[in-house]
Each structure stands twice: as structure tokens, then as C-alpha cells.
């Protein structure tokens, strides 16, 4: 059995590690400090934590100012608010000026569960990757979220890291490489490629294992950095396999699948299928129940693979 751990824990641990490495790293709280795990940083470095209250726009502005004053500020709240409530501050103040501000987008995806649509961030990959100068990372599990958070803090410029609330399979290894912009090939195969981010990478691996029994060889790529996108990794999927499934726990329009498709159509057109939320708001429910209700499980990936194989005459 694979270990289960929420990706938000990886964010909190990464932030503490960064705090140790760099005394200029500071963190802002938006009244959900514990539930986004900034509390770990607050406990370790009480003098470098600042409570801003329920004021996301101001948190983005204060972070912008702190970066101008030479600090490396992180602010974190639920992704709906972190990316949405202060979108204009992020766009015009942080990204246009290219400020060194880091954003932790918690509660990413439908798996947030019973809180329902208002708290399930399903548009942030799209609304963040649309902004020039922004780096967008969607790590696959808690270990990778820790590495991504550290990498975000050590790069220069605006960066958004998306993570989730529920415990999810923790399957990447401590010594797996993590570099912003470099996708990880996590399973080789040549009939079809699944390119995924976040928790969908694990679902893709499960789908690949199942199809192996039928002799279908599935390549799986963990495209943790949505922007800047690893065009080379996408092109080699198209060249090796001739068809691609993209999978994300996010709205189908404008997000990760679209980002992959943009590269595919420009550089190496091959048939593609998308596994994503089909242009609807979320709902209350158990996380697991919602993942299947919204078509985000390994069996949905299996169906998408069958469709794309059929379409490419395989």
C-alpha cells in the first residue's frame, strides 16, 4: 500500500526548509494559516510571519511591497481566493512588475469535498498561466510539493504552487529529480502517452498498470510545471506514441489540458483526449465520490486512452 499524505503538508514543510535556508523568506497569513500549513513556518519563525486577516487583495499587495523591500514573501490561502480574489493585483502589480512574490494555492481541485463549489479551486491553472511572467507548478504529491515550494522560493520572479487538502498517494521518491520546467517521465511506453499534473499523475499510473494487462503500453509523464511548459517532453510523447491523453483536476477549458494541446497542435499534431472537469461548478460530497462523479479517476483515464487509441487507428 502506498502512503497517503496531503500535498499541503509538503507545502508547509518546504516553506520551513526555505525559511532555514534564507532568512529573507517571510510568510503572510490570511486567517487560514493552519489549514494551508503556513502554521509550520509561523511556529518555526514567529518573527517572520505576518497575519493579514481575511484580506487576500491586501495580502497580495503587502507581499508585492515586501518583495520591493528585498524580502521573499509567500502568501497562501485557498486557491479560489489566492488566484481569484486578488487576480488583478497578481497580474498588474506582481507579474507586470516581475516581483519576487510566491503564492501558495491551497484546496486545489474538486477533492476539497463537502465545502462545495465555493471552495473548490478549479480555474487557477487557467487564470494563473494566462499571465505573462508567472510560473505555475502543480506538484504530484506531498514530497514533490515540498521540492516545488523550495524551488519556487529559490527562483526569481512570481510563482504559483497549487496543492490540495486531502491525503493523496505519496509515491514520488525523495531522490527523484525536480526542476522547474522539466517534466518527469515516470513510466515508459509506446502505444499512448498520458501527460498529467497533480494527483492525476498517480491515477494515470494506475490506468497504465491496468492496461498493461491487455498488452497496451502506456507512457506517463508528470508535467508538474504548467508554465513554463516543457515542449520537448510533449513533443517526444507525440513522436513516440502518436496519441496523447491529458489529465488534470481542473476545468477543461483554459487549464492544463489546453496548455498541453497548445504545444501539440503547434509542434506535433496527434489525436488527443482530455480528462478534466467538464465545464461545470463543483458540488458538496465526499472527495472520493466527487472524483468519480466528476470523471477524474483512473478508470476515466482508461476510457480516454481507449478512445484516443481508436481515433488513431490503433
Amino acid at each position: 500500500m502506498v502512503d497517503m499524505k496531503p500535498t499541503k503538508n509538503g507545502f508547509g514543510e518546504g516553506l520551513v526548509e526555505l525559511g532555514r535556508r534564507n532568512p529573507r523568506v517571510v510568510a503572510l497569513g490570511c486567517d487560514i494559516t493552519g489549514s494551508v500549513m503556513v502554521s509550520l513556518f509561523k511556529d518555526a519563525f514567529p518573527d517572520r510571519f505576518f497575519s493579514i486577516g481575511i484580506a487576500e487583495q491586501n495580502a497580495a499587495q503587502i507581499a508585492a511591497g515586501l518583495s520591493l523591500a528585498g524580502f521573499v514573501p509567500f502568501f497562501s490561502t485557498y486557491g479560489v481566493f489566492a488566484s481569484g480574489r486578488c487576480w488583478d493585483q497578481i497580474r498588474t502589480t506582481i507579474c507586470y512588475t516581475e516581483l519576487n512574490v510566491k503564492i501558495g494555492g491551497a484546496h486545489g481541485g474538486i477533492s476539497v469535498g463537502p465545502d462545495g463549489a465555493t471552495h473548490q479551486a478549479l480555474e487557477e491553472i487557467g487564470n494563473m498561466r494566462a499571465i505573462p511572467n508567472m510560473t505555475v507548478i502543480v506538484p504530484a504529491d506531498a514530497t514533490e510539493t515540498r521540492k516545488a515550494t523550495i524551488a519556487a522560493g529559490e527562483m526569481l520572479g512570481p510563482c504559483y504552487v497549487r496543492f490540495g487538502r486531502e491525503a493523496v498517494p505519496s509515491w514520488t521518491k525523495e531522490d527523484d529529480p525536480f526542476e522547474i520546467g522539466n517534466a518527469n517521465l515516470v513510466r515508459d511506453g509506446n502505444d499512448v502517452a498520458v501527460i498529467a499534473c497533480g494527483v492525476m499523475v498517480y491515477e494515470a499510473l494506475c490506468a497504465a498498470e491496468e492496461l498493461e494487462k491487455e498488452g497496451i503500453s502506456v507512457r506517463v509523464v508528470n508535467l508538474h510545471t504548467v508554465k513554463p511548459i516543457d515542449t520537448g517532453a510533449i513533443v517526444s510523447c507525440a513522436e513516440k506514441c502518436g496519441c496523447i491523453v491529458a489529465a488534470e483536476e481542473h476545468q477543461i477549458y483554459g487549464g492544463f489540458c489546453g496548455a498541453v494541446a497548445e504545444q501539440v497542435v503547434q509542434h506535433c499534431p496527434v489525436p488527443m483526449e482530455f480528462v478534466a472537469v467538464d465545464d461545470r461548478f463543483g458540488e458538496s460530497g465526499d472527495p472520493e465520490e466527487l472524483m468519480s462523479e466528476f470523471g477524474l479517476t483512473s478508470s476515466d483515464i482508461v476510457s480516454a486512452i481507449r478512445n484516443v487509441l481508436k481515433r488513431s487507428g490503433k
Binding site: G29, D31, I52, I54, D115, S284, E293
Partner: protein, 277 residues
């Protein structure tokens, strides 16, 4: 027909019933916001069972007062008030937060639950929505009033003050907001997380009328609603002093109960305290 013109003692009994519902709903759902639901339930009961003009048989009645739940996370308190007032079957309360339920974790207009005017759950938006409805009613010369419920932590959102400025500017005396002053938010005490005081002076400076009252004292709440309704040329902020988790001893004044539901054992103790068992 449910009595919507209750006396103070009837309101108190109704609020006790609603608290019992809240505990049962949250325990059944296994998640949700206990503290703020219990601190605001008397405010809602006084509105729905005495003061507000509304018709559960006809939720979109032209002459109704509008109620906007700005702090959407305390919807269990609103759901029980609506169900007990007759908007939908009381049994439906137990579907809270379940897949396909009309009782979403935060109020969802698209689910069609009678009595929900607008989806909410992203803090800081309800006061502006209320101001917009109030402005629209004034344009049309309609006598309906608008009632809004905010949290004290929610006062930290900048949009609240943009809305307050507009409501003062347009002299929206048909608008009142009740601020549930329970003194706590998720990270702890409001005054420590980000101080909002002096709140009364802030509202007055934005050209509002301010009324203070006890948020668990039915007679005092009714007095405050009366004063708000009588005020001319200014919107009214009712600052209602409350206790977060009110009515359940181990939840009272404990920030940790903000977004937590009681387990079966805790629910049993709570229900005993509320006289349900």
C-alpha cells in the same frame, strides 16, 4: 401555518430547536461550521420568525424583504431557520453537504433551495450585493427592506468598506447589516489576527447609523431591528455581541470549533445540553 410573529419566549424556544437541528445536521454531515452557526442562529430566528417580511409559501414574493447571507459558511443556521419556517421539509436538513443535496456546504442558488437569494461563501461580497438590491428597490420605489449578515472577521475584507461607502453615499436606509460580533475567526481572536476596532466609528464615518445589541437577547435584537427600520437616510449596522459556539458549553469561545463538526459522542453531549435528549 408556522407562526412568523413569535413572542420573545417563542423565539427562544425556536432558537433552541434550531440549535438542535444544527448539531444534528453537522454531526450527520461530518464536517461544517459549528461555531459561527451557533453564534448567529438567534439573529436569524428573530428575523425569520418575527421581524422580516417574507412568505415561506411564496419565496419569491414581490413584497418580501431580502436576506443576504454574506458569511455563507454559517448556512446550517440559515437552513434550519428556513426549514422550520416552512420553506422546505425539515427532513431535508439531514442531507447537508451530501452529493446532490440542495443544502450545499455553502449556499448555492443553482441548487434551487427555496429561500436562498444568492450563492455565497466567498467572504466580503454580501454587503455589496445587499446594497445593490437596496438601490434597485429604491429606484423602483418599493418598500421592501434588505437584511445582510456579516462576520466580524469578514470586516477585514476591503470590499466590505467599498460597499459600506456606496451604501452611505446612496443613503440606503432600506439596508441593514447585522455583524455577528463573536470576536473569533479561524486563526484566533479578531483583534489579534487583524484588528477591526473601532468598528462603530468606522461605520459612522462611512455615513451609517450604528445600533449595538446583544446577539442572543431576542428582545434586544427586535429592538435593534426596529431601530434600523425606523432610521431615515442612512443604512444601519447592527453590531450584535455574541458568543461563538453559543449554547454548547465545550464549543463556546473556542476558535477550534470554527470549521469543525461534532463527532457522535460530542453531538450527544451537545444535544443533552440543548435539552434534546
Amino acid at each position: 401555518m408556522v407562526n412568523l410573529n413569535m413572542s420573545v419566549s417563542e423565539l427562544e424556544e425556536q432558537a433552541r430547536q434550531c440549535r438542535i437541528d444544527i448539531i444534528r445536521m453537522l454531526a450527520e454531515a461530518g464536517s461544517g461550521h459549528s461555531g459561527g452557526s451557533l453564534s448567529s442562529v438567534d439573529i436569524l430566528v428573530a428575523l425569520y420568525f418575527n421581524f422580516m417580511k417574507h412568505d415561506p409559501e411564496s419565496p419569491t414574493w414581490e413584497e418580501r424583504d431580502f436576506f443576504i447571507l454574506s458569511k455563507g459558511h454559517v448556512c446550517p443556521a440559515l437552513y434550519t431557520a428556513l426549514a422550520r419556517a416552512g420553506y422546505f421539509p425539515v427532513e431535508e436538513l439531514m442531507t447537508l453537504r451530501k452529493l446532490d443535496s440542495r443544502l450545499q456546504g455553502h449556499p448555492a442558488k443553482n441548487k434551487g433551495l427555496p429561500g436562498i437569494e444568492v450563492s455565497s461563501g466567498s467572504l466580503g461580497q454580501g454587503l455589496g450585493i445587499g446594497a445593490g438590491v437596496a438601490l434597485g428597490l429604491k429606484i423602483d420605489g418599493r418598500p421592501n427592506r434588505v437584511w445582510c449578515l456579516n462576520g466580524d472577521g469578514e470586516m477585514q475584507e476591503g470590499s466590505i468598506w467599498e460597499s459600506a461607502m456606496a451604501a452611505g453615499h446612496y443613503r440606503l436606509d432600506n439596508l441593514a447589516t447585522i455583524v455577528d460580533m463573536n470576536g473569533l475567526q479561524i486563526d484566533g481572536e479578531v483583534c489579534k489576527v487583524m484588528n477591526i476596532e473601532p468598528l462603530d466609528e468606522k461605520f459612522r464615518a462611512f455615513n451609517w447609523n450604528v445600533v449595538k445589541c446583544g446577539g442572543h437577547d431576542m428582545a434586544d435584537l427586535l429592538r435593534a431591528y426596529e431601530e434600523a427600520s425606523g432610521c431615515k437616510d442612512k443604512p444601519t449596522a447592527i453590531l450584535a455581541k455574541t458568543v461563538k459556539g453559543k449554547g454548547v458549553s465545550f464549543m463556546e469561545n473556542v476558535a477550534g470549533w470554527h470549521g469543525k463538526a461534532p463527532n457522535a459522542d460530542e453531538a450527544e453531549i451537545a444535544l443533552k445540553e440543548l435539552g434534546a435528549l
